[in-house]
Structures are given as C-alpha cells and as structure tokens.
C-alpha cells in the first residue's frame, strides 16, 4: 500500500509547476502523519456537531464557507466541535484561499499535533489539484524491464530480453531527435483506469544509459536537454525478440494489444536480426499508430481498393 506523509505532500509542492502553494501554519509536530487515501472531506457537518460517517482518513479542506462558520463558532464561544474534530487522527487540515483560522483553532491543533496547512488557491482549484496529485500517488504501479521513448509525440515502450538491443534502438531514436523517458526500468502507473503513465524509477538517477562496449552515458549531456522527458503516457508497445524462423510474424498489420495493469496497449512484436534497422521500424510504427488514431488504417484501405479493383474485373 502506498502512503505519503504530510511533509512529503508539502515537499512535493516545490517540484510541481502547478503548485499547491502550501505552507504549514500550525501543528508542525504532526507532519509525519500518513495520508493513506486519495479522499478529501469538507468538514461543514462535523463543525456543526454531526459526526456520523465522518471520514477521518481524509484530508480536511476548509473552504470559504467552513472558514466563515468557524469564525462565527468562535465568536459565540461554541468551540466543542472544534475540539472534537481536531482530536481525530486525519492527516491534516488545509485552509484554502489564503484563509487563516481563528487563534483558538490553531492552539487546539497545536495541542493535538494536527498539521494545519494554508493554500493560496481557492478551494475548487485546490481540490482538483489535490485529487490529481493523490490519484497519481495512490495509482496502481508496476515496474517493467524496458525502455520508454517518445517517438513523434507517441509514448513507445520497448521491451525484450537483455541484450536484444533495446538501448541501442533507443540511442538511434535519440539521434534522430526523439526523446528518452527512461532506460532499463520503467515505472508504470495506472491513472484512474484510463491511461498509463511511465517514468523513471528514480528521478536523480534516470536519463543515463548503459551501452555495451561504451559503458554508462549521460543522455542530456550528450544530446541536450530537449532529448529527455520525465514522464509520458504509454500509447504503444513494441516488443523486440530474436528472429525465430519457426514463428509467423505479422504480415498484414492486424491490430493486437496486451494489458498492463488492466489497460490495453496496442502491441507489435518486432523480430530482430542483423541488418534490420529497428529504429526506423519503430518510427514507422509510431507514424502508423498516429494515422490509426485518426481512423485510417493502411492495410484496410489497401484491402478496400483491392476489392474495388476486383469488382471492375468481373
């Protein structure tokens, strides 16, 4: 089970371009609390004293409504529900729109060591971004031995046995101006059961390649910053294998696919033998795939032309 501490959520913030703008304003001692579910809760009801079905695993988001209600509660001295809500062990409270809770709330939070965060975003934007981040964080994950490259904007996963030439193929593709996402280990995430995103396992160590005979090379140093990407949707899967004389390979491009984490990815098996230029086959496959996405299939088109031709000869 994946989990994330509140501190990691704060740190994560620094790396994102679409930042959550979070700062911790109280309860710093509780920053090690774990976030275990990608759920958010708006604590309006519990604030009014109704605690049935209170989702105590969720991050509590205080929007403008909750904040005003909180001010009113403190003004009239009804602080029981505040004390009670903060006694629960949820990961943290986030005040959106740069709002600040009343001093009493902060004191109680400090007592219970419950982290109180503040975000400059309004609550709708904040929720959307938080869900996006948490969904990704808690997405089912698998690590695959392969190379992920971007070819003509398509995320192409290359797999195959060690030594079949995945890295060499990727290198040639890089030389032709395509991009490397990850060599050797590709960490794949299933995002909301709709698509797969692949990236390196370790940000600091990715974008190096091992080429037999050369050793380890640094891709952005050799090919420039435009030759790499951190992550990319996987749209296409090419499996390389040694040419097997007894096996029948695809001749008329019928569509095949295979599942990763329950999501179907179009897959081709490319037989490798000396003298076959694999990178150009991958490039062509990516071009074909783009055409197919627009509804055009080369083999089908040829077939219909052929049928028409045969008709005229009758």
């Amino acid at each position: 089970m994946n989990s994330l501490t509140v501190l990691q959520l704060l740190r994560l913030d620094g790396n994102l371009s679409d930042s959550l703008h979070l700062t911790c304003i109280a309860g710093k001692k509780g920053l090690s609390r774990q976030i275990t579910a990608s759920k958010l809760s708006r604590p309006g009801l519990p604030l009014s004293g109704y605690f049935k079905d209170f989702s105590e695993q969720s991050i509590q988001v205080f929007g403008r409504g909750e904040q005003t209600y909180l001010q009113d509660l403190v003004k009239v001295g009804k602080v029981d529900s505040i004390d009670k809500i903060l006694s629960y062990n949820f990961p943290c409270c986030i005040f959106s729109g740069g709002g600040t809770p009343p001093p009493h709330f902060l004191e109680v939070a400090e007592n219970y060591e419950c982290p109180i965060l503040q975000s400059q975003l309004i609550s709708s934007d904040l929720s959307r971004l938080l869900y996006q981040i948490l969904d990704e964080e808690f997405a089912p994950t698998v690590t695959i031995h392969g190379v992920l490259v971007e070819v003509f904007g398509m995320g192409v996963l290359l797999t195959g046995e060690s030594g079949v030439g995945k890295s060499e193929t990727a290198l040639e593709l890089l030389d032709r101006g395509h991009r490397l996402i990850s060599d050797d280990t590709v960490k794949i995430r299933n995002i909301n059961d709709t698509f797969l995103v692949g990236g390196g396992e370790n940000k600091q160590l990715s974008h190096h390649m091992e080429i037999r005979g050369l050793g380890i090379i640094n891709i952005p140093d050799l090919y420039g910053i435009s030759s790499i990407r951190e992550r990319k949707e996987i749209q296409f899967w090419a499996h390389l294998e040694d040419w097997d004389q007894n096996k029948n390979y695809e001749r008329i491009s019928e569509e095949k696919s295979e599942s990763i984490l329950g999501i179907k990815i179009p897959k081709v098996i490319i037989p490798v033998k000396p003298g076959r230029n694999i990178p150009i086959i991958i490039e062509t496959a990516a071009r074909c795939r783009r055409l197919e996405q627009l509804g055009y299939q080369g083999a089908k088109h040829l077939d219909s032309q052929l049928m028409d031709f045969l008709e005229t000869k009758l």
């Binding site: 690590t143 031995h145 060690s162 050797d184 280990t185 396992e201 160590l205 190096h208 091992e210 380890i216």
Partner: protein
Amino acid sequence: MVEKTLTVKNRAGIHTRPAAIIAKTAAKFKSKIFFEKGTMKINAKSIMGVITLGSPYQDILKMTCIGPDEEKQAEAMEKLFENRFQEE
C-alpha cells in the same frame, strides 16, 4: 524459485563499480534474477537497474532467482554481498 534477503555491507553502498560487478555476476547464470526494494523491482543483470535502486550502506534488498541454475546464482550473489563486493 529461490528467495533471499541481502544486506549491503560496504560503507559506500552500491555505487557504479559494485553495480557492474553485481550485473556481471548475475549474467553468468541463465536464471532470471530480480532485486526488490519497496515498490521497486529491477533486473539485476542490468547495471542501470541496479544503480537505480540507489542502495546505501545497510540497505536491505529482496532477491529472487528463477531458472535452471537459480541455487548457484543466489549463492554467488550472497557471497558477493558478504565479501562487500571485494571492497574495503
């Protein structure tokens, strides 16, 4: 299938040189070999895979060997970790 737990015993952790030795040793055998750490699972026959683990001193890895010579492979790998990758 052989499953073993390995501990990184050299002070510097698995840097490039030990990673290369690990991959070379792993590749001497036919069996498939994987190292697991947290949610990471990598092919130990690949240098980049082993480097990606980012394993420091005293890190604990789970090793899985599958194939005809799995016993020998596991044994060789255990010995390598025990000898601190011929360092120190």
